[in-house]
Amino acid sequence: MTRVVAAAPASLAGDDDGGGGVDVGDPLLPYRIAAEPYYRAAGEEIALFATAYAARVPIMLKGPTGCGKTRFLEHMAWRLGRALVTLACHEDLTASDLVGRYLLDAAGTRWQDGPLTLAARHGAICYLDEVVEARQDTSVVIHPLTDARRILPLEKKGELLTAHPDFLLVVSYNPGYQNVMKDLKASTRQRFGALELGYPPAQVEAEIVAHEASVDAALAARLVELGVRTRALKGHGLDEGASTRMLIHAGRLAARGVEPVTAARVAIVSPLTDDPDVGEALAALLDACL
């Protein structure tokens, strides 16, 4: 099942000529970002991405879960004035889910562009989130779009789609917890430039938590202190430490009146582990930090 972040535009339902025949206005309208998404840069990632986009170099965003990869890309799409078509990859994702398929309705069959085709045809940024979760044969579909050819063969439709000049493919993955069977193939990996987005420095992360959760700086700093220390347990009872996203969740609960300790237990400690020893250690850490 293909999951697209925004619902497919209704106007596309009758787009039986592949999006090129009937003027349906802006087919990417639902994917355009109206307001600036908050993003606090921790390095030179904004400038690097903008340069990569100008050169149309496909980009791979690497980083642990919840560190802000998706938010960064939303911010960049807004900054560059491009629509963002996001696809959360999973192991049941098929090539048809990416490129499109013929659908049957009362009028007969019609072609429905998939999200990748939609972005390539109309010039959006296509974001394949957690691309290693997709089957490897599926990821091969993106190869022609990520080299000098910039084409997408639609075999079932008999169309060779040349990507719109504004199109860019971006993928993300978390190198931390994939096993060898789910690693990216070298032939896929080497088509991308990579931006590594780790957790920001503590002071910057506290700024982010305070902004996103609407909590004061002191509480944000304490939550970040807790988060940073849980990350020391990566590989020692935890697959990952607390993400920035988790810290924001805790902050949001606290901002709505939940005791900070309770908020952190609900949003950080309990979700992180079911292991009694790790849980006990995290509970002690929570008491120490807050």
Binding site: G235, H236, A288
Partner: protein, 356 residues
């Protein structure tokens, strides 16, 4: 059992903990909660100072300690009851206290000419210093430790009781104690000019206060002395073991220390001091330093822990699977400091390399 350098992998754990934290309670998980404490230490240190092994101390050890093999936590805190909430709190408090020494410690201190009482007091100030710095980073640690300080101004006027009151006064701001030594210690410790960043300040205050306490003629038996409250370590981590230089520079006499009594208290029958027999009952006109013989290291007064240090067994590092395992071939490792004064550098895990 060691937790820390490489936490033993659980069944199906993959070495990195169960995915999503899953996995049942492993075989070693119930061992006094040592695994949880080891994880707590790791999180507190945040990856600083490398990986510090955390071990269960041999049976009988009632205080935590640190040595070249790592940090050692008592298997239980019987004074708090087996498996009680207070015992669990003490275990985490002990782990946090040792972690504070690792994080903010200033290396091992030379004993020099310090008397046993001064060594105790320097250690006490050093405990307070590292706890103060740790609590600045993580204020909840102060609450954790403070709940285990139970000394009161009404406690008996003994040297251990006075130390317990000093410890509480230096940690708990709201604790009121009218004892002049306590008030002086507090004033000195929290004086803006007192350097919290190094152990030199602790040494200075301990030496200074040791002279005052010595004038009080409080009973002190170095062999029986144990640190209070029980979560605090036995201080062997703080001190170089006695060297030839120390012995030469500190011709101290232990007997007077053991037999010293509180003012107005009669010595035990048959244990009168030689000075008393010679018409110098209190010996107050002699310099204190000249009346104290070198006591055994405070850190080594606990025979059980000393035996543990002497007869340590090392886990075997299996490079293929990347974990430490129990020895297949019994080996006893003897750990000794060189007799000459070693250059100031860390050993074992303290040099951020793996121990054992």
């Amino acid at each position: 059992m060691t937790w820390g350098v490489a936490l033993p992998a659980r069944t199906g754990d993959g070495g990195g903990g169960g995915r999503g934290g899953g996995g049942g309670r492993g075989a070693g998980a119930t061992e006094g909660g040592a695994r949880a404490a080891a994880l707590f230490v790791r999180a507190l240190l945040g990856g600083r100072r490398g990986q510090v092994p955390v071990r269960i101390a041999p049976a009988g050890a009632t205080r935590a300690y640190g040595d070249a093999l790592g940090l050692h936590l008592p298997a239980s805190f019987p004074m708090y009851g087996s498996g009680s909430a207070l015992a669990r709190r003490a275990r985490f408090a002990a782990a946090a206290h040792l972690a504070a020494h690792v994080r903010f410690g200033d290396g091992r201190l030379p004993r020099g000419g310090l008397r046993p009482i001064q060594i105790v007091l320097v250690s006490l100030f050093e405990d307070a210093r590292v706890e103060c710095l740790a609590a600045r980073e993580l204020p909840g640690l102060a609450r954790l430790w403070a709940g285990l300080h139970t000394a009161e101004p009404t406690d008996l006027a003994t040297f251990p009781a006075l130390c317990a009151r000093l410890s509480r006064a230096l940690l708990v701001p709201g604790y009121e104690d009218p004892h002049p030594i306590v008030r002086k210690a507090r004033a000195l410790f929290f004086h803006p000019d007192h350097p919290l960043g190094s152990a030199q300040g602790s040494r200075r205050l301990g030496s200074l206060l040791g002279n005052d306490v010595g004038q009080m003629r409080l009973a002190f038996n170095a062999k029986d002395y144990v640190v209070e409250p029980p979560y605090r370590d036995d201080h062997r981590l703080l001190w170089h073991e006695p060297s030839v230089d120390d012995d030469a520079s500190a011709p101290l006499e232990e007997a007077d220390v053991e037999e010293r009594v509180a003012p107005g208290e009669a010595p035990a029958p048959g244990r009168e001091r030689p000075e008393a027999a010679n018409g110098n009952p209190a010996g107050r006109d002699r310099p204190l330093a000249g009346r104290v013989r070198a006591a055994p290291p405070i850190a080594a007064v606990c025979d059980e822990t000393a035996r543990a240090r002497d007869g340590a067994t090392y886990p075997e590092w299996d490079y293929r699977i990347g974990v430490s395992r129990p020895l297949r071939h019994p080996v006893t490792g003897l750990t000794r400091q060189p007799l000459h004064r070693a250059p100031k550098r860390r050993r074992g895990w303290q040099a951020t390399s793996r121990a054992g």
